[in-house]
């Protein structure tokens, strides 16, 4: 198990900036969650559609197996449903959601047994194996190779760097948000993200 990885469920500090362009306005998620808490099932549907793909990919990147990701993904949303009564409007829903996800991942691997890298890729996932390059046109092959290489590089990152990168990309979390979800200091989160990008740059040098 990677000794530097946070093994405990972590605390977060909602309200941080979520910096990616195109994200929904702050407050919308929280209003929707409050509406769901009041019994509005349609509000949950909007929330779910908005966050399901980033959350799924976050879980998948961290566990590396579709079957495990499916199980955890469903469990995470079930817990969101269960925890709705305790949800406070002032808490960022996104941070709340990804904190639950991270807790579930940590918990899952704890139950699997110590001595393993909590967020490491486990085995090969057949569904993640790309199509044969020879079956595709050249430009698609090129693009495919790029994306394959990138995803392989991401999986090869140290767990905490991978987590920082994926949270940044999928959840749209800025450094402060990553620090909150992972329970580390701002500088630590910042350096994790920076090192992740550095490794990816080096690995993709021929494409950049």
């Amino acid at each position: 198990m990677n000794p530097t990885l946070q093994e405990q469920p972590v605390c977060m500090q909602p309200g941080s900036a979520y910096a990616l362009p195109g994200m929904e306005q702050e407050g919308d998620d929280e209003d929707l969650m409050m509406r769901y808490r009041e019994g509005d099932a349609a509000a949950f549907e909007v929330l779910y559609k908005r966050h399901k793909n980033p959350l799924y990919r976050y879980v998948l990147r961290q566990c590396g197996q579709h079957a495990v990701a499916d199980e955890l993904f469903q469990d995470i949303w079930t817990r969101v449903i269960q925890a709705r009564k305790r949800y406070q409007a002032s808490a960022s829903f996104k941070t709340f959601l990804f904190c639950i996800a991270r807790n579930r991942l940590v918990d899952h691997y704890r139950r699997q047994g110590a001595g393993r890298d909590v967020f490491a890729l486990e085995g090969n996932d057949e569904s993640a194996i790309p199509a044969r390059a020879s079956d595709q046109p050249e430009h698609l092959v090129h693009a495919r190779q790029q994306t394959e290489q990138l995803l392989a590089l991401i999986q090869s990152l140290p767990a905490e760097q991978r987590e920082a990168f994926v949270l940044h990309q999928e959840a749209g979390l800025a450094v402060a948000g990553i620090a909150e979800v992972t329970g580390v200091g701002h500088e630590t989160a910042k350096s994790r993200l920076r090192y992740a990008l550095k490794r990816l740059r080096e690995g993709l040098r021929e494409w950049l």
């Binding site: 469920p9 019994g39 949950f44 409007a89 904190c99 990138l150 740059r201 950049l208």
Partner: protein
């Protein structure tokens, strides 16, 4: 500058690469569960209506009269209209009490759980609390809903809950609050941490009754 461009290129490449989605059957299952969860309970709006009616018995009486005896045409009904209405009011009020008590309380209620029926070791270390909290630590007032709903009482309640959530409050001396906190850990996916706290709770309060969810966790993990 070049580095920034490279990073942007990597991010763009990632956005193109990351196309995985959860399977459709999971979508269906989760959305069905979300609907079931809110339809199973008495809607909060209805709960509020019932509460207001109990606060205004005359209005309730009128409502019941209009519902139960819409047309008191016969003299018999005319004679019994008032006593029947009053009896109905009493019966409904008695029936409503448990309903209103079941209404989910959203935040920690200091008043309701400050009684300490057992000798609690208040000075016990709370390190486990500080390590294993799985929920937001710091909150900022941000939403319209919160602004509208803010009242002194609500803020007090929220403040306590947030302290509990953050692990800033040592709730180990108050069994109900401690249990609520453990439930929160379970809700937010930190089951192992919840069980660790539950073990500590059972060590200190061996005969204190557990809520059904925690009872199940206790039996399951033992």
């Amino acid at each position: 500058m070049v580095m920034k461009q490279d990073d942007d290129r990597i991010k763009e490449l990632y956005r193109q690469s990351a196309t995985e989605q959860p399977p459709a059957h999971l979508d269906d299952a989760i959305l069905a569960a979300s609907r079931k969860a809110v339809s199973a309970k008495c809607p909060r709006a209805l709960s509020r209506l019932l509460r207001s009616l109990t606060l205004y018995p005359r209005a309730l009486s009128r409502l019941l009269r209009s519902l139960t005896l819409p047309r008191p045409a016969a003299p018999f009904f005319g004679r019994w209209q008032l006593p029947v209405s009053l009896a109905a009011v009493l019966i409904v009020a008695v029936l409503l009490v448990p309903l209103l008590q079941e209404e989910p309380h959203d935040v920690g209620t200091p008043g309701s759980s400050t009684v300490m029926p057992y000798n609690a070791d208040v000075s016990a270390p709370s390190a486990i609390m500080h390590q294993e909290v799985a929920v937001p630590k710091k909150y900022k007032a941000r939403t319209r809903l919160e602004t509208q709903a803010a009242s002194e009482e609500a803020e007090q309640k929220q403040g306590l809950l947030l302290k509990e959530m953050a692990g800033d409050a040592d709730v180990t001396g108050v069994p109900d609050q401690w249990l609520e906190r453990i439930e929160l850990l379970v809700d937010t996916g930190a089951e192992t941490a919840a069980f660790a706290e539950l073990q500590e709770f059972k060590r200190r309060y061996p005969v204190y009754p557990l809520p059904p969810g925690l009872e199940a966790l206790w039996k399951k993990d033992r």
